[in-house]
Amino acid sequence: MLTYIDEIRAASARLLQEGAVEMVVGFRQGSQPMMNEPCLIRRPEDVDTLVWDSHCGINLTNYLTNRKEKIAVIAKGCDARNIVTHIIENKIEREQLYILGVPCQGMVDKRQIAMRVAGEITEVGESDTEIRVQTTRGEIQTFAKAEVLQQNCTLCTHRNPVLYDALIAEAVSEQTVDRYTDVAAIEAMTIGERQQYFQDLFAPCIRCYACRNACPLCYCPTCFVDEAQPQWVGKGQDAVDVMTFHFLRAYHCAGRCTDCGACERACPVGINMRVLTKKLEKDCVNNFGWEAGLSPDVRPALDTFNLDDPDKLIK
């Protein structure tokens, strides 16, 4: 994976030089360990600022919404599925995009690493299989990448982009995993236990809306939480209002979420709100045989009906 960047830069420079695209959406080196910053490159001479490593977890589809230019975008498996969803939902045209597909082996969860080291992390390096961090105490610690991935990456079953114009490396093997053990554990709770679980889960929420804003699915001109007439939900720290925000946000992602993990990654207080979207994803798979973002030619579960739906309701 560490050689991907050479191909990303070469392809970006070529596309900009040829005038095939006006801009490239990718990542540049962050100022913080284990962080990169989404960026927009317009000139071929600037492509060397692009980077690619295990810290590119932000979903770049978020930066394509309603753009009018011709754009090259670097897309992991999850980003590509969100691009498909964007095309279906008319947030961008397929013809505007040149998708540089990146076969992905998962992005690193910086909080997990921070929790496992003493002191502050000052520098980070990586090989194909390991992450190496140096701390303010001068210690160097090494972790197997597979052990410190974002949880959604460990459960990912579409690591290769489903839609692309060029794949920048050979496809990686796909994983076979049970994606829903955490959802099943919540389903097994009594109603009282579940209510307590959600209250505890969302208690640290500060309503900053980083989860919503990091999500490529959330592009409404005015979000329901910002509506004043009528006001659907209180804006304060009342626990019921906070949960209402999270539950409704999740429902708006039903049949659309690719579990890219952008919401959880963005949360400044470490809430795993993905349990909600995963429950809806599981229901979509079980009831409609539907997984989001696999083809721009198939209508999504909640926007069509099919006599072959596995659910008995329609028969």
């Binding site: 913080q32 910053e37 932000i58 500060i206 809306y209 980083a210 990091a214 804006k235 009342d238």
Partner: protein, 356 residues
């Protein structure tokens, strides 16, 4: 005069204080597996000690005097009641408070925020009653974080502004330096009166030496406001921004709020809530027009407010204490240190171009 607090006197002093004060301090949040994740300021339960083994709290100390949601008034819409449609003030709880474990950056920020809430023309009763009821007990930073740049903001790891008392770790116990009369009273109330034959000068210098991150702000006051507003870097600075409220909500110096009425059946309350200039709705007019309609405008507003408008209006430096929270927790790694340097350099380049 520096006092010494032995480990066992710390707990006994706190239980003495708990009789007359409400105690607040950093408490570790726990993840689903029970592991400590990060700290926030909370009211301490009886017998609970503030957890002073921390870098800094995830959210700043501002919520101690400026809660994220605060009821200002209550009212009833029930016309069978004589006092229907009359706003009734929510009374203060009236109890003195002590807030432990405030880092010097957050304390300086409280003094800075006071410039907004306590002016000769206007005194904010909600902010002031909590501020005045509280004794602020600082915790000096002997191991600052790599993102701390407080020595560039007229602050520092042992800075005393905004504090009544400053603590620093000393072996298993603590040293305490009273800064105000409130601080002295607290030491007496807690029974922490054993003098320590020390001063903090060397420790202060050592801690300041540990700060590795710096920003340049010397040109900001000189620069032309409109030039800076029209600078060519704002699109690039703002590109990654997702317009969430993380930076503003974690910031100890951001003071903006919104006022909302919430009614349940016949009973209503008027709430003051934190607001954020990152949100599009922050500036929407009743006509529907939004003068800050794009994210670039909103990002520019935040940095211009902190690093230019505030500088020009108050002439007391920048509206940032260098705590580094926005740097560490921005989901897309927008870094105020880089933006401050861009703005500072832009101003100095403009000045040079004019001379040439």
């Amino acid at each position: 005069m520096i006092k010494k607090i032995a480990k066992d006197e710390w707990a006994s002093g706190l239980s003495k204080l708990a009789k007359t004060y409400r105690l607040f301090g950093p408490v570790a949040e726990r993840g689903p597996d029970g592991a400590r994740t990060f700290h926030n300021f909370k009211a301490l339960a009886p017998g609970e000690l503030p957890d002073l083994d921390l870098g800094n709290t995830r959210l700043s100390a501002k919520s101690l005097v400026f809660p994220q949601s605060e009821a200002m008034f209550t009212y009833t819409l029930d016309e069978d009641r004589d006092d229907h449609h009359i706003l009734k003030e929510v009374p203060a709880d009236g109890m003195s408070r002590v807030a432990f474990g405030i880092r010097p950056c957050d304390a300086k920020a409280l003094a800075m925020v006071r410039m907004n809430f306590d002016t000769p023309e206007y005194k904010d009763p909600y902010w002031l009653r909590l501020y005045e009821a509280t004794t602020f007990v600082g915790l000096a930073c002997d191991a600052p974080c790599p993102t701390c740049f407080c020595t560039s903001t007229e602050c520092g790891p042992y800075h005393e502004e905004g504090l009544d008392l400053l603590l620093c770790a000393e072996g298993e116990g603590l040293l305490a330096k009273a800064i105000t009369e409130k601080g002295e009273r607290l030491l007496a109330d807690a029974g922490w009166e054993e003098a320590a034959d020390q001063d903090l000068g060397a420790r202060k210098a050592a801690a300041e030496g540990c700060i590795t991150s710096r920003i340049g702000t010397d040109q900001l006051a000189e620069g032309d406001l409109l030039d800076l507003h029209g600078a060519d870097f704002w699109e690039d600075v703002a590109f990654a921004c997702i317009n969430c409220g993380t930076c503003t909500y974690l910031c100890p110096t951001c003071w903006c709020f919104d006022i909302q009425d919430e009614v349940f059946k016949q009973e209503g309350q008027r709430l003051r809530q934190w607001d954020s200039c990152m949100f599009p709705i922050f500036t929407v007019h009743t006509t529907g027009h939004n003068p800050r309609d794009t994210k670039t405008q909103r990002v520019r507003q935040r940095f211009m407010h902190k690093l230019k408008y505030f500088v020009d209006k108050y002439e007391k430096g920048i509206m940032c204490v260098g705590c580094g929270r926005c740097v560490r927790h921005c989901p897309v790694n927008i870094d105020i240190r880089k933006v401050a340097d861009l703005m500072n350099r832009y101003t100095s380049d403009a000045a040079k171009a004019e001379q040439a």
